[in-house]
Symmetry: C2
Subunit: 411 residues, 2 copies
């Protein structure tokens, strides 16, 4: 097989994965999940005509020639039902959210009134019928669909679910995700220092990328370069819905990962993607498991996760927005590029009156994990590009942490 | 006190809060936290000159007039040390990440070679000295600072921490956050249906907003409108670092929240912000607790959380990016506005070749929690604005869920 384009590889993956059924979760655990049911209102909301303001419920005809003085016959609090019907010349003191009494057709806010005595108030201006009244069922009417299946559960959705008294909801099941690093050169986080080895950063960087999507992965540790050990570790990984294997997928003679996966019944969909970093990326499908072979280099592995594993996991979780948000930025400096492979350049983003400015984090060697730690985004250089000039308009994928900014940005 | 501007209220809050010391967390629990220490490299990385490619380590002078045939004297895997020194005319088969043998000054990738026999290979092109070699210490040199105090722990940072073998790191402590709803009209999520009451959506919407920042809040439930019950609930809330009270902060005669807070030693910094929705917003400081009084209406409460509580919590957690990311969008339709208060309009965002398009979610009544559930962002209308024309350029704060998009967006 030849190297696929990034978009073709993404398409292949998204076509191969699917949702895993649904489960019920408590509202307290629902944030970030995706609704696997349609949700209906269970009552009219508000349950009766209520005041939208602290003020006075009155008959608008009585104040048509305001100012006017009215008799205050009652105080109505939220959660209480009015006891009286308003007659001409009467009004009721009313709180926000409290029921509008019979006879009243409008509310005037307290700021537009002047108390004269306990039972007398001057109304300073006229109001139209319906003023500052929220009518019964205005927010939602009993039985109406308030949330569609497939809605992402944001804080606003959690509030709405509480409003319709849903203490638990049906959401798409999360995949179980296993992470395996491979390579004799790796030193585990809890292994003693060995000057000749390289710490296993991949397991933890991938762990954090999975955690950022709301899933707690299982770390299988490091499989050494012996066929039996590797086979056992991969078999363990194939008990999960998704298996991420980093290292061992390139074309070197010592790489056992691909043949071992194939021997274990994984049908490889592609190996090799026309991208830099990350071209040894592979993807395969087993009876129970979607298997991603990621490059051994941590930067390459993280870039491949962003392009391929992230949309797959979000698709499995039932999301419709599968990809990182992209923004258009102005390039601060030229970038050289030889046509052939898509390239992903780690950049920080600045901002001026004209919008975003993308600045390379510096050396882009695939060993430079610090550049990934500093980056706000990944600038995407199209495969066919012959290089980008300074000030040209570029596409940047926003990485974790960019949902916030230092300045409030108020106009 | 007069109503403050939104920016002045934000400034008041950010000046009043501070970090709460630091604690050690395992790397597995560090994502999203902020480093409270500087982190140094504990070794050179890579620990020796290594190959950046699968290929052959060779002497560049031997292939200056390529093609050239070289003798293969050794196979070097990652994690193994070379046994031999290359002499003229010799090369070693080498894996990505494996140490470059003495005598070699370059690596050529396997694609640019042709195996002739087990111990003979044809090198198709010449290479410069240093080609595809990552030199010792290139990624990080022993003792160098790799992460500054105050860095947000993103997946890239987690990878870098694993690379320097940090199984635990010092991070700023998270605040404990308590949430209290107030009002006789409220029906708790686990209370039976009462057609005359309004479900308590605020507790859960605020819970989810806090959870989205990585903090698990404590729900104190609903305090009824009796001074003693309210006082007891507020006292309980004042055991936490941050207390969010929704409802009971407006100017109505039945609102006991403010006087009770003051009686409990809370020094009010402001009440009333020139904004819509949300003007009854208050903020106060107790000896142990920062107290936010949020409007009783769920939409208003959520909008106030975004403007005031979110930057406060992020500041306490040690973040430097305190505010929601804003984007510039084109307005799809006119928006009426009377000068006086800043207004926050719930919008969805579309996109075309010219950038974002902001579209109101429809009725903006503060009872419309569904509009908050649908919204991608909050369009900010400046206090002094006399209305916004269709197609004008507007500022939109991006809400939760907008870090992702439906299309891959590749150029």
């Amino acid at each position: 097989m030849n190297e696929m384009t990034v978009a073709a590889a993404q398409g292949c993956i998204v076509d191969a994965v699917r949702q895993l059924g649904s489960e019920s979760v408590a509202l307290q655990r629902a944030l970030g999940r995706v609704l696997a049911e349609e949700v209906q209102a269970n009552r009219d909301q508000p349950p009766y005509d209520v005041s939208a303001m602290d003020g006075f419920a009155l008959r608008s005809a009585d104040v048509a020639n305001a100012p006017a003085v009215l008799e205050v016959i009652e105080d109505i609090k939220a959660g209480e039902m009015p006891r009286n019907t308003l007659a001409a010349g009467q009004c009721a003191r009313i709180m926000t959210g409290a029921p509008v009494p019979a006879g009243a057709d409008a509310v005037i806010r307290v700021e537009d009134t002047q108390a004269l005595a306990d039972s007398r108030v001057q109304i300073k201006c006229s109001v139209k019928p319906g003023n500052d009244i929220r009518v019964r069922g205005e927010s939602m009417s009993d039985g109406a669909t308030v949330l569609k299946c497939g809605s992402e559960i944001t804080p606003g959705v959690v509030g709405l679910l509480a409003m319709v008294k849903r203490a638990a909801v049906q959401v798409y099941r999360q995949p179980s995700v296993a992470i395996l690093s491979t390579g004799d050169e790796l030193e585990g986080l809890d292994e003693p220092f060995d000057a000749n080895k390289i710490p296993d950063a991949n397991s933890y960087a991938l762990m954090a990328q999975v955690q950022a999507l709301g899933i707690e992965p299982v770390l299988l540790g490091i499989a050494r370069d012996q066929p039996e050990a590797l086979r056992a570790a991969l078999q363990q990984g194939l008990q999960h819905d998704v298996l991420l294997v980093s290292g061992g997928t390139s074309v070197g003679v010592h790489d056992y990962v691909r043949p071992t996966l194939e021997a274990l019944g994984v049908q490889m969909k592609f190996w090799g993607v026309a991208m830099k970093p990350g071209h040894p990326m592979t993807f395969g499908v087993a009876p129970l498991t979607w298997v991603f072979g990621l490059p051994g280099n941590p930067v390459s592995s993280m870039v491949c996760f962003e392009q391929f594993v992230l949309p797959a996991l979000r698709c499995i979780m039932g999301h419709r927005r599968l990809y990182r948000r992209t923004v258009t930025a102005r390039l601060a400096h030229q970038i050289k590029h030889r046509p052939g492979r898509s390239e992903f350049i780690r950049v920080t983003l600045d901002r001026d009156a004209d919008g975003y400015i993308a600045i390379s984090t510096g050396a882009q060697g695939s060993g430079m994990l610090s550049s990934m730690a500093q980056a706000d985004g990944l600038l995407v250089v199209a495969a066919g590009s012959e290089g980008l000039a300074a000030n040209s308009s570029v596409t940047v994928q926003l990485l974790e942490g960019t949902a916030f900014q230092a300045h409030h940005g108020m106009p």
